[in-house]
Symmetry: C2
Subunit: 500 residues, 2 copies
């Protein structure tokens, strides 16, 4: 019979070894999105499936479950503020979810999403929804099945997916927050759109921004804001993302277009925000809740904060301008204010990740409502394009040109990420709240940014957010850090003062 201390150690060791497999799976996926040869995709899907099965077996080992149950009753769990208690709580929560899922479902989902992303990438390139449809249908059916299994009493099926990304979130509450946010956003968008601003076409008209130069500039910017390249990488991919392979291995990815000076850069700023969060979690707790991110909403708060609140600020561009001029000569025809206006121009558009900070959330509302309907309602996958286009007309007043700029623009559903999208708007709201709290303590940071000094902000985020891990639920973390629960006012005030 082990004593509780030994049991805790064994449990931690088990979780850490599990994280080695999870990191291996992340490498298989990272490679699939970067360097894999074109014909190797099918076998890669088999590998991912195989490893997902092994991972799930470890995550649901009955002995491990017994250890956690014992620990949950032990002294270690009693002091709810302690790190150990948080770890036990989080691990038990994960175990209880995983144990409900049959290995066959886990493996089928792993296979369908690995293949699904491959099919999506090709179908998007060819604007071919029909060839993507069967794969998407399979994925949605598998996620519906998972949602049914995990559904809690008095909660919707969709909630059980949402809960995987944002612990404790409730889609009804989110829907209410989003509804009132939408009501407030509509006049802001209208008013801001009417302001006379330079058209994007003016800045890019006929200009070619050399891809290699964009890459170098973006990498340098990521380094300057604090992303640690000794513990991470930046690579090219189809759709930007960030992934963690180990406690000192955080990889960000973006893509660059010759006719845009900002698209690749802001992809990198966003993903570097994610990466710096991961790099700020306690490395000695890697693989445990205390060494993990609090939630995806908090994660998105970090990425959106660096991308927008910092990256589209006047101070940031005051600092960046000479470097941008140097790397991207066609920009030299435009002043600081012109570029800043261009980057903050409010204009309903088709592509979420290219959109401004105000209309961005309208893109999310479309996805959130469709997702809920896919899981809880009787929306058919084949009806998706029509509904998508209809909602875009309704919410944004624009109609997708094709499937590639419509519902196939995002990788998420092909990767099985359903219930993920709302965390982006949560992230926007959190980011505004967090930035306000930071400013209350650090003062206005525009001056620092204009000198390229990002460390005070990063350090503040590390102390107040990153180092906290996943020890408390996101809404509680927000309350502790900002003194307020989730609310839209900070974000709306931020938007108004910036855009109007």
């Amino acid at each position: 019979m082990m004593n509780h201390r030994e049991l805790l150690q064994r449990t931690y060791d088990h979780a850490r070894e599990t994280s080695m497999l999870a990191g291996t799976l992340a490498l298989l996926e990272w490679d699939q999105h970067t360097y894999i040869p074109s014909r190797a995709g099918a076998f890669r899907a088999d590998q991912i499936t195989c490893l997902s099965g092994i991972l799930h077996e470890r995550q649901t080992s009955p002995t491990y479950g017994d250890w956690l149950a014992t620990l949950a009753e032990s002294d270690f769990a009693k002091d709810r503020e302690s790190i150990d208690a948080a770890n036990i709580r989080g691990l038990l929560r994960d175990f209880k979810r995983n144990i409900q899922l049959p290995e066959s479902l886990v493996k089928a989902t792993a296979h369908a999403t690995s293949i699904g992303q491959q099919i999506w990438a090709e179908a998007r390139a060819n604007d071919d929804f029909i060839s993507f449809l069967p794969a998407l249908e399979t994925i949605i059916n598998l996620r519906r099945e998972e949602a049914s299994i995990l559904q809690k009493p008095d909660r919707t099926k969709y909630d059980s997916l949402l809960d995987q990304y944002e612990e404790g979130a409730d889609s009804e509450h989110i829907a209410n927050v989003f509804d009132s946010l939408r009501r407030e956003l509509v006049p802001i968008v209208q008013q801001a759109s009417e302001k006379e601003r330079i058209s994007s076409r003016k800045i890019v008209a006929g200009s070619v921004f050399e891809i290699d130069a964009q890459r170098r500039l973006a990498r340098w910017v990521a380094q300057q804001i604090g992303f640690d390249f000794d513990r991470g990488r930046l690579d090219d991919t189809e759709h930007p993302f960030c992934t963690t392979l180990g406690p000192h291995d955080h990889r960000i990815l973006s893509r660059y277009f010759p006719d845009s000076y900002s698209s690749g850069l802001y992809g990198v700023l966003h993903e570097a925000g994610h990466g710096m969060y991961e790099q700020g979690t306690p490395t000695d707790m890697h693989g445990l809740p205390a060494g993990s991110a609090a939630s995806l909403g908090i994660h998105e708060s970090q990425s959106r904060l660096w991308e927008n609140v910092v990256g589209r600020s006047r101070g940031f561009w005051r600092w960046l301008l000479p470097h941008a001029y140097q790397h991207l000569p066609p920009l030299r025809d435009f002043s600081l204010e012109r570029i800043r206006e261009d980057l903050n121009r409010v204009e309903p558009s088709l592509i979420r990740i290219e959109s401004d900070e105000a209309t961005y959330n309208l893109h999310i509302f479309v996805r959130f409502e469709i997702e809920k309907d896919l899981i809880d309602g009787d929306l058919k996958t084949s009806d998706l394009p029509d509904l998508w286009n209809q909602r875009y007309r309704e919410y944004l007043g624009v109609t997708p040109l094709n499937h590639a700029t419509g519902l196939m623009q995002d990788v998420h559903w092909s990767a099985g990420l359903i219930g993920y999208f709302p965390t982006y708007t949560l992230g926007n709201l959190y980011a505004a709240q967090i930035m306000q709290a930071a400013e209350n303590q650090l003062g206005d940071m525009e001056e620092l940014f204009s000198r390229g000094e990002f460390f005070p902000l990063l350090e503040w985020l590390r102390v107040h957010i990153h180092s906290r891990g996943r020890c408390i639920q996101p809404h509680e973390l927000m309350r502790q850090v900002t003194g307020k629960p989730l609310e839209a006012d900070s974000f709306l005030n931020y938007l108004k003062s910036k855009l109007l």
Copy 2:
């Protein structure tokens, strides 16, 4: 009770799933040699260790062993010429070896060699043997332990390591072949060295061969000789190698120096030879002996054949010259004959992979004798540098300048690859025999090479070598393909006609 056909299917499925894990391990290692962030090495070693344990568990599953034992007595094993019989034979052989090795030893070796390669790379860069010594000692002790466990009656310990790379090989027989080869090589080297040739310094003096241009040229050459980039990649690394991640995923790696036009290119030619062999094994048999390479000696025959027999031929350079001139302008001062002489100049030197075809084998003899002594004798790891330098003086008449150009030049020992080196000279001998057999059927190929037509040779190799997999032992394969057992005459005749 399963019938034998079902049992065979299950066994194949098990082996194929095992190959998915082996391919995953290969990805972890490939990434460690290419793109891993500098601080992520320790966790990577943990990941490799963890996965090696899981792989070993699968490879030694008692149920799987029972299946194989039953199949070995079944009708499937009776027709020894059949593919199924070959698969059963090969899988059972692997199982019997793996089952003898305790998981703790397998994991300890995986960890020591992952860390070992990291320490080696840094120590080599700093010419610092002392910091490499403890890691090397650990690895050698682990391999000694493995050799003791696997040792067969009437065989040396070293034989049990050698047998992992060259099935059925016997170090005493190899030592005899090498001894007589050495006696024949000495006058060839002497006579060839005396021939007046352009000095390497003359071609490179002050020249800078742009790294990117070298990379592009090497990639293009690999493509032209038949390496399929839809099923493979070429990347940069510290020490060239080739690795297989799946049936359609073969990755080759090389490195380039600004003061050499040939070093990177010949690294690529060598590794592309390995890669094309792997690409030529039957993909539907991937993970099974029939879909694997026959042995490392046969593997090296393919790499050395493309690197040397093809790559240093007059025909090859007749074809390559205009392209080389285009990519590497400083070469333009030199004629076809000058370059060819430069590439075939016999001169005892320090670095194995940079050496000419004749002295190359002397580098191997040094390593082979030291390895045997490390495993079977009482050679101390700390005495290695002195013995190395002494042997280099004795066999090659040169003295290493330092450890980096001495015993730390090769990655092999740091990766635990002890018993591997002799397969290079076996490869040289096999390659000459194979090329003679090919020429008997296809005629002189110089004319084809000069037109860039490499497909007839590749196709011949595919039919006679690649597609055969690991169905018979290498010496039997050689007998069938060349009509002769392993012998040195073909190689010596080839050398004489080329170099004297």
